[in-house]
Amino acid sequence: MGKTLAFHSYKGGTGKTSLVVNLGAIYAKQGLNVCMLDFDFRAPSLNVLFKGRPEFWLNDYLEDKCSVIDTLVDQSDRFKLPGKLWVGFANPSLEALKDIMSKDRKWEVKALTKTLAGKKEILQEKQIDYLIYDTSPGAQYSSINALAGADLVSLVMKADEFDLEGTKELAKGVYEALGRKSGIVLNKIPLEQVAAAGGKEKFGRQIEEEVGLPLVGMIPCMCELMAFGGKSIYTIDKPDHTFSRSVGEIAETLKKM
């Protein structure tokens, strides 16, 4: 049985989607079978990068309109990857966004059971090695449903005070309560901040102590990434770039966790 990873954050804009896409591409480049699911139903983004217009959205699966397998689109040939790269998209239409916001708790129970059952079906049917959830920031129902089904939760955060305080709350109130193995990915870290803390290791240890979770990896802040966000998969197009190498290190750490 494959491993299920979820990427979550307290605030938006921490780089979860970029990380999910680039991490998935690394595993597929290694010949592993990967499936990415866009569980950010309030602000779907995987459809932008993959230009996905599937026959069925993940929303349709949660509404009993199709099976979870029907929602998956194979992207491995497009990127000439040795492993399979399946993607499940969330519906980005305004109508779908409004619809997801109007759901009651009863519907969320069904969404939870369908999320858990869907995960199992994908892992078995598609022989997936890594199933990766991209989630909405904060304590959204769909995100916590995905976290409940994950083997490993990676909390993506910038190292500012806003992120730090909220992340501590999430670690204590959600991850610990769900009993999921969790770790921190520090993203968009200015080099000056690392230098001021006395180096990468010291800085990492400081954050680990503060949040109370182990560090999975650290990605420096790079302005050029902003320009290519949603247009390019760095780990495929620029495998030697610092960002790609940092994601590569995270991929290896996650394998061992």
């Binding site: 708790r105 969320e108 858990l116 059952a117 129902y141």
Partner: protein, 136 residues
């Protein structure tokens, strides 16, 4: 003044003074019982509507309390594991669930019945087997 030794043993009591003492004592006991009863009702009321507090087994929730993630997060660890496993299987016997959680069947059966009594999980009989399920 306390009742005399014979009256404490339940022997016939004839003296009027002793009767009065007994009645007073019974009234006092009644008042204390009412006080305890009111306090218990209050405790049940607090646990019925968690508001961030831990739910306790054996305490019924309002009938429409769904087993969603917010409820899951307020459950104690041992019950959350069973509830999450059942949410994955949707419908299962205690034996099925014990295979999923790696705990023994008797323990799983106990936890599932606690979830039933809390109103979070339902159960039904199919032949000789009892199936637990999450109502969606």
């Amino acid at each position: 003044m306390l009742p005399t030794e014979p009256s404490m043993r339940g022997l016939p009591v004839s003296s009027k003074g002793t009767d009065t003492i007994l009645v007073d004592l019974l009234r006092k006991m009644n008042r204390n019982m009412e006080l305890i009863s009111r306090k218990l009702d209050r405790l049940i009321e607090i646990q019925r509507f968690p508001g961030g507090q831990m739910l306790r087994p054996g305490v019924s929730l309002p009938e429409d309390m769904p087993l969603d993630v917010t409820t899951l997060l307020s459950l104690p660890d041992h019950l959350r594991k069973s509830a999450l496993a059942l949410a994955t299987l949707r419908e299962a016997t205690a034996t099925d669930l014990s295979k999923e959680t790696g705990r023994v069947r008797a323990v799983e059966s106990d936890y599932l019945n606690q979830l039933v009594s809390m109103g979070l999980v339902k159960k039904k009989r199919k032949g000789r087997d009892v199936y637990f399920y999450v109502e969606t």
